[in-house]
Symmetry: D2
């Protein structure tokens, strides 16, 4: 029975449910991080403290939400992939996206003093993150999604490294550095760094060049990737609550491994990439 005559307003609530048996990728992005990073004097082109803080927050999210099978981060963004079987919040989109944004924010802020030991957060410039959910029906697309983010990391980092080297070492104005790089391809940027500044881009810190992949080490044979066709979807839909909880417990206990490697080629997906089910 309705507790009050106002309860009709509930009929306006519409829950978007994410299609079953598809991978859910939740990507968080720092809101206004241009201003945020300027406010806290992040180092250019990369601030190691900031990136390690992102990684630490993401690891905590994975520890607290066992449905996450892996995550990839670079710059001020982090993407979490949830199991195709994920039933968290009955796959309600708004609850999922807001919970990831909220949990990540809480961890980022809580862990801040560990990484920025001498700078306090200012109440008028707190970190915040917005989020979105994307569905992928097959593992191939999930893999290509991560490849897309890593290719993006590469392009941006090569540009930023070149730009800030021209400015900080080369003494160019920001405007002149921008002009100098306009229209150059990867080869030209590599060449510029090497010939003018003696920098071999491939010697730059690998976390900056490749971003960070977090996987859950569920052990040999744990979550071996099987093709969609051969998995028994019926069986999954009938899985008992106890079975789900047992798997969840296993994932909760698994160590979270941080990798800075190429995730575009096959090698990662044959080996460590078998984390995804």
């Amino acid at each position: 029975m309705a507790k009050s005559r106002f309860e009709y307003v509930r009929t306006y609530e519409q829950d978007a449910i994410l299609l079953p048996n598809t991978y859910i990728v939740i990507r968080l992005d720092g809101r206004g991080f241009h201003r945020f990073s300027a406010h806290y004097n992040f180092r250019k082109p990369n601030d190691k403290r900031a990136l390690c803080l992102m990684n630490a927050a993401a690891k905590q999210v994975m520890r607290q939400i066992p449905d996450v099978e892996g995550a990839y981060g670079q710059s001020d963004e982090y993407s979490f992939v949830l199991s195709r079987e994920c039933r968290m919040f009955d796959r309600r989109e708004a609850k999922l996206v807001s919970t990831f944004a909220s949990t990540f924010t809480a961890q980022y802020q809580f862990l801040w003093p560990e990484f920025f030991t001498d700078i306090s957060l200012d109440g008028n410039m707190l970190p915040s993150f917005d989020g979105r959910a994307v569905l992928y029906p097959s593992l191939r697309e999930v893999r290509d999604y991560f490849s897309w983010r890593q290719a993006d990391c590469h392009i941006n980092n090569l540009y930023n490294t070149s730009f800030w080297t021209l400015v900080l070492t080369g003494g160019l104005s920001e405007h002149d550095a921008e002009q100098a790089l306009m229209g150059t391809n990867s080869g030209a940027k590599n060449e510029l760094l090497f010939s003018q500044f003696g920098i071999n881009y491939n010697d730059e810190e690998i976390m900056y060049r490749k971003g960070t992949m977090l996987i859950r080490d569920v052990g040999a044979g744990g979550a071996a990737s099987e093709s969609t066709e051969s998995r028994d979807v019926q069986e999954w839909h009938e899985k008992s609550k106890r079975q789900v909880e047992r798997e969840e417990k296993k994932r909760r206990k698994a160590e979270i491994v941080e990798l800075h490697v190429d995730i575009i080629g096959d090698e990662f997906w044959r080996g460590a990439g078998r984390w995804i089910s």
Copy 2:
């Protein structure tokens, strides 16, 4: 041009856009606050510090997001109503909901030490909030939405006050208190509080009984509520960016007023309730 051959994965992104010219209500709920409040020893039936912290965080959200016209909070939930004209994030649902959840979380955590002066937050028990967006086409429904939440506040608070009085003052076990209240209506609970404990429920702190309404004091004639019919929707859609920014600035400067009053009757909506446009 695509930066990499992986960019096709973007075509899987689907942005749910919230229907124009409807009020957007975003409701945040504490995640697992039963465990959270037990962990930090919240006082029963109401912990004033916790409620004031919720209010303080909500005020900061309103200060930072001028599209919010008002908000109502009780217990571990807060509802924000956004202007019918809101164009924030082009009304993309996931971005809106996640941003509110993230911003509120950040403020709640940041302001925690002001209210819980002697208890530090524990990294394994951080506050987090999930969110949802609901659309209402008319002011009547927005009003009924807020009435629904206040009626809910009343019902829960009367129950909790009776329950914890039976336990803490009356010495009943939690189980016996539950039994004693089972099936009782409001009158019976009022009577029980008065006859057995000399408590007049209406003397209880009004914030506990009515929750907290936050409004933006945009001044006389500021945002006088007009009927949908008479507003010129065309004009709104053609509003210049400058005009939008001017209104935003006005809202940013307006003082945020905290009220603990009845919002179900007409009085509030004729007077202070004219904050909504």
Copy 3:
């Protein structure tokens, strides 16, 4: 209980529900009507039989679906507006859109011989219509929607009248007619028709110039348009099934009136336009 182990596939069904208390406009468009009209030798620039057939089919749809309050048609499209209170199919989008498309198609085909007395339909070139639903929160937007379609009718018909007069009377090739009209505004087209061909565009058949508006004549005071604010939304949500059926019956009995008038100005909406509730 599940009748078979395959019933889990039902959990993939997702019903999009159209927001309550908003007007639903369903617009149908002829599929491939360029080819269709060529196949059946429709007259240029307007085929009266084809337009009257569209109107006759739309009237039958209104007779059979009492939730329709009015409709507007031009060329090979028809838009139906459903009451803000419409509960048909619990406002499920797919069912609504497909039912309108199917019902209109059936009537169009059934009534074809009445209007095209000497041309039979060919099984490989049957009429078909696709549809979409759009929501409008206020009557102002519904009115502007209809104005949009009538403005579109005017623009297209003035162009087509000029084009086909140049071709059929003026003897120009289609290419030359197109060139002659390129970049001309309304005034120039009116002038061209008058000076070169002695045609006063305003004397052209009004149905061609204004399209067709269908309204349900529910009688004086029947569905007087009230502002959203003053209507009691609660009351509506509590309306009994019997009350809904009584109103439906009233609408079913109301005569459907066909109008060829200006629906952009105020006059229509003050008078006949009061059909909408």
Copy 4:
């Protein structure tokens, strides 16, 4: 540029796009076919003319819409499965669902005289169909979907055969027949038909018992079913328009085969079932 000041109403249109790389099943259901079949005196428990008309209309839909890879029909419903790669209408849900409903309706009505040679359609009782779209990420689910519908066909047909035999041959009232069957399982119904009426249910016409499967015979190796993992999704997204048209042409030319067979077991899916890609 906007053609009129009313064009802002277009911003309210929201196109639901069906997730790429998932199978689309569109199911059409006869609207009010209980009344419809009574009006035209359909034979009980099955009217062969009506079922063959459904099949004929579905075949025409498949001929005209090459994206359909197969279809299954029983009673007054038909389900069409579209290729995972389908790009028709850019996968806009409303357009797809309405087009199938409209096209099927047109064909059903057009073909009616071929099957009901001596009964004309009545303008106040025309056939109409509503529709819905469901997405399935893997072939396993598509297969289980069809199995679900065939299991439903079996259950309903066994019931209807028993019911109408009791009524038409056994002379029971409809109420008594209903009572007689209440709570009986399949075995009991088979036994009742055999012992009381000498009917071996398995000798009943196979189309009644199994429904109708339509597949497109694209020839050996044509659309061999591959697992999701091994298909190159990237390649698909980059497929040229010409390639798509070539495949479409191939499908258009393929013969459509009508089957009345078990589609629950493996055999169909190993053999003829390889129609799906």
